[in-house]
Subunit: 197 residues, 2 copies
DNA sequence: TAGCCGACATACGCGCCGTATGTCAAATTA
DNA sequence: TAATTTGACATACGGCGCGTATGTCGGCTA
């Protein structure tokens, strides 16, 4: 075999993160057992504490990964919709839809903030938040948006979007209320426009 | 003495809730020990499990209480500012400021949703949410707001407000960013107006 | 190839939760 | 008022999960 040490370490880290995404998503952070989790991938807690420090460290790594994936995907959708006002709306809608995925909801929106604190203190500092802030800054520079504080706007927009998603997901008929959520989000975001549509 | 049984029971329930508010606020839900908590008010876990079923039940009771207090206070501030558009803005600002209180943040905004699930499934069904929904419904009936879904609007507004509060609280200089948050909230909410100011 | 280093396994102690059982005062009935 | 019941709460028990300290075996370096 003669496997490199760093290779196997990377592999094990990856395996643990994969298992953690599943366990945290299905059982929630506190109910997820580290013994079970590690055993599922043929390891023990020793590997976990060596690689991630503690249970929170593993959660941080998972959150970081999911958050990055989300930001990337939302930005793709955003730029595809245009580098103007349409782009911001599409980005917001993308966040709402991504937040419907149980994994995202449970880990990033519920347990993440509760266990790790404010997203701005995450290792990724919330890529999602930063991405929308940059978009807002660009639109303000283009005079398309009112000269509000970009950070504040990003927070409010993402907060609205993510909370809307929680509502949609908790409703009886998600596919029916989703358009309402997106429509209302559009209306709300329109408040930032310098010249209303 | 000759105390009534129901009296002492009410007293004990109240004492436990008071202690729980403090413990949950200071240590967070998972780190709060039920043994310590009950001992502080001269009881044991027996009383707790008899009155509230389990740890989550106690949290639910605490969340319910705080949520009710918040809704009451916000509505007071809202009607004082007027039964029109101004009232909704004042209500939103009130939520932002209340969410700065560590107790509210930790218990209602972070641990509450993570442990108890979506606010719509809480015993109080989130009085805050219901209050702003009613306000929005009234304003829509007055044609002051666009005919959006009231539930959706309430969710988005409260989500924006509460997330803004988390941002303000996590910032280095809360008193400096608070006005930015409120200003941006006003701008955002303006998107719902039929005729922009 | 000999020795070291580090990634991971093993073993231990502690705290905490939930439940099953016990107890004693207040409430009820005659 | 005395006997009986009720139920609010205390006590005792079992189990699980986390974090840490210590052991081990394979790759890495000289």
């Amino acid at each position: 075999m003669a496997k490199r040490r760093v290779e196997t370490m990377e592999e094990n880290r990856a395996k643990l993160i994969v298992a953690a995404r599943k366990a945290f998503a299905e059982k929630g952070y506190s109910a997820a057992s580290m013994d079970e989790l590690t055993a599922e991938v043929g390891l023990t807690r020793g590997a976990l504490y060596h690689n991630f420090g503690d249970k929170r460290g593993l959660l941080a790594a998972v959150v970081d990964q999911i958050d990055s994936e989300m930001a990337l995907r939302a930005q793709e959708i955003g730029v595809r919709a245009g580098d103007d006002w349409k782009g911001l709306l599409a980005e917001g809608a993308a966040y709402i839809e991504m937040a419907l995925v149980p994994e995202v909801q449970r880990i990033v929106l519920l347990d993440g903030p509760a266990v790790l604190g404010d997203p701005s203190k995450w290792p990724s500092q919330s890529s999602c938040l930063q991405a929308t802030r940059r978009t807002v800054e660009r639109l303000i520079a283009q005079k398309a948006l009112k000269p509000v504080d970009a950070e504040a706007a990003a927070r409010l927009l993402s907060g609205a979007a993510l909370n809307a998603a929680l509502w949609v997901a908790a409703s009886d008929d998600p596919q029916h209320v989703l358009p309402k959520a997106i429509y209302t989000f559009h209306a709300l975001a329109g408040g930032l426009l310098t010249k209303p549509a």
